[in-house]
């Protein structure tokens, strides 16, 4: 998931590795904090969930919004599911085989699965779905890009289908586990794509006949015939809830108030500043899941300007106490980041964390040695040039990112950097990225696959005019080669080695200044229980139930 720096439907890239168990995140709460009421699950009732953003389109084959996956997941099942150890489990596919050359994935499908409109889920349905994702008229903003080497699918018999790629593609199965690759009823896929933005039909535990209404949300009823939950779920059979309603409430304070007053049962995106308030209320509890993938990072422009010198990059990384600043701005709710990717991303390399330690004296010494001498106004100067750096930021940044930037600005000045924050709109922000007119670029890019490293650091992704994702604009054969080799293997030891090498090289070259690990923070009423998490850290409701 990339989160753009403003409150808008968030672009999201997702291949799942990590499911954060509910129990684990509850254990992270302080002992005094309240939690779900407990007891045995009971069927019945309506759960109302207040989300913070609209989606542009309900169909996750088309949309790139993270909320599209959230709103579609109750309706759509995937071929496979994932657990937090990175293991892929059966779901609508009973089993699968990968050809020796890594090009062909053959799935054996589960018997007896039907779509809620009565259609049978079979090999032809799987083919129809993959073909729909890559069809030009679908104009997929995300899913198609995540199976870019897709060649085609072949129906072998009713319950066997093979999917072929033009090159080995180890990121496929984690992608297939996400809602972006949710299976939809084949006849509905023949409609105009705009129709699917409103109503989609799947095999999932919930059905929504009315579909999604912009700015209002979506209501679902239970699919009583549902009997094919993944083994990773807490129960099997139909969902507990009679009804599920998702409403859209953009204002943080109103969302929180409607939770406290009982108007809704659970809310999305609880601001860190309000976490303590919710925890202190015995009728409410907080649950959170750190999002895997790219952290909220500052990326130096290594192509031009002062950060083309590695000594200046190292000095900026060492000379500012990012960890302390993050702790103070986010009340400890977001963990300080010491790596470009979140620790719960598969093949995370812990060894490179030490490169991000704080040492102000060493930083000052490096700048002195590089010829940057402190001037009269505290800003360093070299050959008459001031040590000035520009950070474009979109006004109204989410998660108080503007507050964070202001604190970093102050710390940078102590070090001798004149850090200028340029307030721009989203268009100008992307334009600056395309033309390279920045010294620092700030963005987060959540995705639950280590392949996110290729997105963020492969030199093929250096922005050239328009939007692209290698924000540091750095070319390194070490990084490029190890990341492309990683796509061609499924061997765990090799993957550990290849992704580890890339992360170490990124640390050695000082091409990223990590800020914080984004966590999805959810608030809920104590009688609302069993809410679980998707791989890319958003809530799911199949296991959810209400006591009383």
């Amino acid at each position: 998931m990339l989160d753009t720096p403003i409150r808008r439907p968030v672009r999201l890239a997702a291949t799942g590795i990590t499911v954060i168990a509910l129990a684990a995140s509850l254990a992270a709460c302080s002992p005094a904090a309240s939690g779900p009421a407990g007891g045995d699950p009971v069927s019945g009732g309506t759960l109302v969930f207040a989300s913070n953003t609209d989606t542009d389109c309900l169909d996750p084959h088309q949309s790139a919004a993270d909320v599209a996956a959230l709103y579609a997941r109750p309706i759509l099942d995937s071929l496979v599911s994932l657990t937090d150890d990175g293991q892929v489990h059966p779901w609508l596919a009973d089993s699968w085989e990968v050809s020796d050359d890594g090009l062909v994935y053959t799935f054996t499908l589960r018997d007896g699965v039907t779509f809620s409109n009565g259609e049978v889920f079979d090999a032809a349905a799987v083919k129809a779905n993959f073909d729909h994702i890559v069809a030009p008229e679908t104009a997929s903003a995300l899913a198609a890009g995540y199976i870019a080497p897709y060649v085609g699918s072949t129906v072998i018999d009713d319950s066997t289908v093979s999917v072929e790629f033009s090159e080995p593609f180890s990121a496929f199965l984690p992608s297939a586990a996400t809602a972006y690759f949710g299976m939809q009823a084949p006849t509905t896929l023949e409609q105009d794509p705009a129709e699917l933005c409103k109503v989609i039909v799947g095999t999932g535990p919930f059905i929504s006949e009315g579909g999604y209404t912009a700015q209002q949300g979506i209501s679902y009823v239970r699919n009583d015939d549902y009997d094919w939950a993944p083994e990773t779920a807490e129960h099997s059979g139909a969902a507990y809830l009679d009804e599920l309603q998702i409403t859209i409430v953009p204002e943080d304070s109103v969302r929180l108030g409607s939770l406290s007053s009982g108007e809704v049962d659970a809310i999305a995106s609880l601001p860190p500043v309000n976490v303590a308030t919710v925890k202190s209320d015995s009728a409410l509890y907080v649950d959170s899941a750190p999002a895997p993938g790219g952290n909220y990072n500052y990326y130096p422009n290594t192509e031009s300007g002062v950060f083309s010198d590695i000594a200046v990059r190292e000095a900026f990384r060492e000379g500012i106490d990012f960890d302390t600043i993050v702790e103070s701005v986010y009340f400890g709710e977001f963990a300080p980041a010491n790596s470009p990717i979140a620790p719960n991303t598969a093949y995370y390399n812990e060894g490179q964390e030490s490169a991000y330690a704080y040492d102000a004296e060493a930083a000052a010494a490096k700048l002195d040695a590089a010829g940057w001498i402190v001037g009269d106004d505290g800003v360093r100067v070299k050959d008459g040039e001031r040590l000035e750096i520009h950070l474009p930021m979109v006004a109204g940044a989410r998660e108080q990112r503007d507050t964070l930037a202001a604190q970093i600005q102050a710390a940078a000045l102590d070090l001798g950097f004149d850090m200028v924050i340029d307030n721009v709109d989203i268009g100008a922000y992307v334009e600056a990225l395309g033309t390279g007119e920045y010294d620092l670029f700030e963005i987060s890019w959540q995705r639950s696959s280590p392949d996110v490293l290729r997105t963020l650091f492969d030199s093929a992704n250096i922005p050239d005019g328009g939007f692209n994702t290698a924000f540091s604009r750095y070319s390194s054969p070490v990084i490029d080669d190890s990341l492309s080799d990683a796509l061609a293997t499924l061997d765990t030891a090799e993957l550990t080695d290849l992704y580890g090498t890339a992360q170490q090289e990124i640390a050695d070259q000082a091409i990223v200044f990590p800020q914080y690990v984004f966590s999805y923070i959810l608030g809920a009423r104590s009688n609302t229980q069993g809410i679980a998490w998707e791989p890319q850290a958003f809530p799911t409701f199949y296991d959810a139930w209400k006591s009383e």
Binding site: L2, T4, I6, R8, R11, A50, D54, D56, C57, Q62, A64, P136, A139, A141, L142, G145, P193, A194, C197, T213, A214, Q215, Q216, T247, I248, V249, P250, E251, S253, V254, G257, S258, S260, S261, E263, D425, I426, G427, A428, Y429, V430, E431, G434, N461, G466, F467, N468, T469
Partner: protein, 326 residues
């Protein structure tokens, strides 16, 4: 004020004898068309001047645009045409009721707007009614009622005019939704969900209107003809509602025309605070996403609304004030 000047012109066209209402209406409608055309042109130019890569905006700000995708988008949206030809294509479309296709919603702008418009219209109408009724009641009850009442209400009105709608909305929600639990804080389900947004949007209107209306009422009450009315034995109610009010309405009605514009902009904020579906919230996210067709579509519809309201008001003057009839 220009509107009342137009009103006089409308009734007594300079240089020749007025030919009646039909001609006046025709002239007024002609002006209205020019205003709407001006609004379309101005917003088209403004959005063009905003710059940025339109193809990137259409694809989504953070989607990588491949050369193939770029070509596809350019062909689909006719971006290879000159700006002037794009402008005329758009204008021609508007005349046929085709406002183009939203970049981010992937559907015709008119469909998207029409889906949300009823919600906004409901809010605007209820806020206007609420504001006008409250202002009338307050001004009639408080005009010339001694310095204490005068001071108290003037103070309240100043607060009402100055208070930001955003803050007012949050306060109303906090007290009446979360505290007393009388009204829902969000959504548009039924009349009960309309109460708080109506107050948040209508209260500043009421405050502005009642300031003007009381001032004008007090002046009227000092007029000699009021003494005559009283001398004939009319009661206070008859004096105020039956005689003074009508005299005072012209200035207030002129203000309602201006307030209709203020209401539309207020709706953007109120819809956001109360999570109410409507075109205000729609245009807010369209601006953020640089969704030009939606921004243009909403501007045109808002301009039409504004022009229609003001035209009706201009035509109302002679009805209210016989002195403005020839």
């Amino acid at each position: 004020m220009s509107t009342s000047a137009t009103a006089e012109m409308l009734v007594t066209a300079p240089g020749r004898k007025p030919r009646g209402l039909a001609q006046a209406i025709m002239r007024r409608v002609g002006t209205a068309v020019i205003v709407v055309w001006g609004a379309i042109t101005a917003s088209f130019v403004a959005l063009t001047l905003m710059g940025g890569d339109t193809v990137q905006s259409i694809a989504g700000a953070t989607v990588k645009v491949t050369p193939e995708l770029r070509e596809q988008i350019i062909a689909k949206y006719g971006l290879d045409q000159s700006l002037l030809s794009q402008y005329f294509t758009y204008l021609g479309g508007v005349l046929r009721g085709d406002f183009g296709t939203s970049y981010s919603l992937r559907r015709p702008v008119l469909d998207a707007v029409m889906e949300q418009l009823p919600n906004t219209i409901t809010l605007l109408v209820s806020a206007t009614v609420f504001g006008v009724v409250l202002a009338l009641a307050v001004s009639i009850l408080t005009a010339h009622r001694g310095p204490r009442i005068h001071g108290l209400f003037q103070g309240l009105e100043s607060i009402g005019v100055a208070v930001p709608q955003f803050w007012l909305g949050i306060m109303l929600i906090t007290v009446f939704s979360f505290g007393l639990r009388l009204f829902p804080s969000t959504g548009a389900n039924g009349p009960i969900a309309l109460v708080l947004p109506t107050i948040a949007l209508g209260l500043p209107v009421a405050a502005t209107l009642s300031q003007v209306l009381r001032d004008s009422l007090e002046k009227t009450l000092d007029e000699p003809f009021i003494v005559t009315v009283r001398a004939r034995g009319a009661g206070e109610f008859v004096v105020r509602v039956g005689h003074a009010l009508r005299h005072s309405l012209v200035s207030a009605i002129t203000l309602v025309g201006w307030l209709s514009g203020a209401l539309i902009s207020g709706a953007v904020i109120v819809e956001q605070v109360f999570s109410r579906p409507g075109i205000g919230r729609m245009v807010f996210s369209a601006v953020v996403n640089r969704d030009m067709p939606v921004v243009l579509g909403v501007v045109v519809i808002a301009a039409i609304f504004y022009v229609v309201v003001n035209t009706i008001i201009d035509l109302l003057y002679p009805v209210i004030d016989p002195r403005l009839r020839s």
